[in-house]
Symmetry: C2
Subunit: 391 residues, 2 copies
């Protein structure tokens, strides 16, 4: 438990499990008869439910985006951006964050019990697409009584969900914030994902995805997957600044123990991840990334795919991000301009690579805050929130 909750924190938060019983037809052709979504909400929904913000998570994210769970010393994964007075101001907005279907943090997914068998779904859990997630999130909005999001916000794989929202449900969001993302993966992106999948699925402890049944975990595969992923989240410059060629022992040891600081760091990150994340979920998330390509259904013309969107857009990229480089954001920018849409774009100078989207970089937070004031201004005038009245 933290000694003291910071004053700009939303404080203690409690996840909620929401169960859905209407069958969900999926892109793969299969159907989820019933499913659960784990969510958290921060702030207060106003009377006409017009101040709601949806936060979509990236590959290894989940519903715990902000605040503290009782007993935890670390806050949610985007606490730097979400809270009272922060860029996504919980005094003004009702923020909804969920664990996506197929995740491993309590929503229906491979590590949860399949009601049909009484055992974990494992590899029987269907592969999910970004479109499927948006569909499940739309049902969540229905359940919460939110007809139109003030904004849908996401970074990386989360940005893809935000973009798909604008395409799938043009009337159901006023603003779309796509951060450090891309309209589709490159061959290189897919290649790195495939290395991760091979590392996991060829680990003898993977047991064709049924490792739960034998109380095993493909830890080596997950560790390797995370190590590769982590390198692509950081920039070459950022790694130089952080690790350089610093040696743990100060001299060459001529053995295969970690020698340079960067080796220890990666091993530590990989090993920690391998004990906290589910291997089947990792496989599923990388496939959802690979498959995302909204332009594919519009003759590979992204502007055409975006022709019917109504949301206003903020796109943000980071100079040293080579996983989803600024060039990838500019492809979305160009398509939105071609389609005649309202779009703002910011390229933030940051040495941290793709990871920058999770960090409280001042200019980035300023941009987000400034744009969120536009989102606030677009809340219909008849609305009021309890928090605003108090403020």
């Amino acid at each position: 438990m933290p000694q003291k909750i910071p004053t700009d924190s939303i404080g203690y938060v409690i996840p909620q499990a929401i169960d859905f019983t209407e069958p969900l037809a999926l892109a793969c052709g299969r159907t989820l008869d019933a499913y659960r979504l784990m969510i958290e909400t921060y702030g207060t929904l106003n009377d006409d439910a017009s101040n709601a913000i949806l936060i979509c998570h990236a590959l290894s994210g989940h519903h715990h985006a902000a605040g503290f769970h009782e007993g935890d010393s670390k806050p949610g994964w985007w606490d730097s951006a979400i809270g009272p007075g922060k860029a996504i101001d919980t005094n003004k907005f009702f923020v909804v964050s969920l664990n996506n279907l197929g995740g491993c943090h309590g929503s229906s997914g491979p590590n949860q019990i399949d009601p049909a068998t009484g055992k974990p779904y494992g590899p029987d859990f269907p592969l999910m697409t970004v479109t499927d997630w948006v569909e499940s999130q739309a049902r969540l909005a229905d359940r919460l009584g939110i007809q139109q999001w003030a904004a849908v916000v996401g970074g990386s794989l989360g940005g893809m969900q935000a973009l798909q929202w604008a395409i799938s449900y043009p009337e159901r969001l006023r603003h779309c914030l796509v951060i450090a993302s891309a309209a589709k993966l490159s061959a290189q992106n897919i290649a790195f994902n495939e290395v991760a999948r091979q590392a996991i699925s060829k680990d003898p402890c993977f047991h064709k995805g049924r490792y739960y049944d034998v109380d095993d975990v493909p830890r080596t595969g997950l560790m390797l997957a995370r190590m590769v992923g982590h390198i692509t989240y950081l920039s070459d410059d950022g790694m130089r600044d952080k690790f350089g060629r610093e040696m743990k022992t100060g001299k060459l040891m001529f053995d295969f123990n970690p020698q340079f600081e960067v080796e220890s760091y990666l091993q530590y990150q990989g090993e920690r991840f391998s004990t906290s994340f589910d291997a089947n979920t990792y496989l599923l998330m990388t496939k959802a990334l690979d498959y995302f390509d909204p332009a594919a259904e519009a003759q590979h013309d992204l502007a055409k795919a975006l022709a019917h969107v109504k949301a206003k857009f903020l796109l943000v990229s980071f100079t040293t991000d080579w996983r989803f480089s600024p060039e990838r954001s500019r492809e979305i920018l160009d398509a939105l301009i071609d389609a005649g849409k309202d779009v703002s774009y910011a390229e933030v100078n940051a040495p941290q690579g793709h990871d920058a989207f999770l960090l409280p970089i001042p200019r980035y937070m300023d941009i987000l805050k400034a744009y969120m004031s536009r989102v606030e201004a677009d809340i219909p005038a008849t609305s009021s929130t309890t928090a605003e009245v108090e403020a």
Copy 2:
């Protein structure tokens, strides 16, 4: 066997094994009492042994750089650059290529028999450094009667050997050609190597490096190592041009079989490599890469480390190479200029990434050929080669 040996090929070549019995003291503190080097030579050594070129190989290379082995349909790994009339013209030069110590193609290394035990060295083979290799290559030069190389040439890890030659033996080479290389690895380079090492050493079939004794091979680890390596050898642009998001079946299959062309390609490359390369050698080669840092002994001042070199230099880099980017070659360039040395530098526009250094890119071959005419011009006037007399 090829239907017909191309007319610009050196033709059939036969490797030679050369045994050394004088102990070799290594950087790690250990000593190799005796060792073997597998070599190939192309062209004819002139009377005063002044037309000899040493070719140093990269991570997965070996002595078979040019020409054909009887029965093979593919030539050596740098046949595009070495042969009669080619950039490194075997009508003019006597070209020497070797498999480095610790390699897995016949030189003393982990997969060769340790005379002390009668079993393969395995993990008992000492870790080698670039400096150790240069020392062994200097002894090879002695054996061949070559007091001074007309040039030492290498790409990638081979370029590091060429650079180290200029530092270790200033009097023993007139020209130094360092292609797509770096004066030291970056933290990112080391990180990718560490992923490869973890993949191999954590493969249950690795048996702590003694897989020969149990007739096993860590194929998954080697496959993963090669897949990661291969991604870093290609450029993002090059992969887009080569694979894009082309699908094998034309539609999404929602399973974990290779879906995109790039996945099949990488798996194929990885699997092929895993049956042809030795895992202990891969570990050793990546460590030699990590450890190379000639400036470290000169207060991390590369210009100082190069103060005593006498060779003239050609540096070549490739625009889309992100493993050893043009910036890394310019670090060597700047240091050589600071040290007042004779250096030419060419940055070749090529979409193929690091792999470009192995390819017959016209401008690259032209640059190499033009520089080699300088190397030829610096052969002492009293010399003559049989080939020159014939020409």
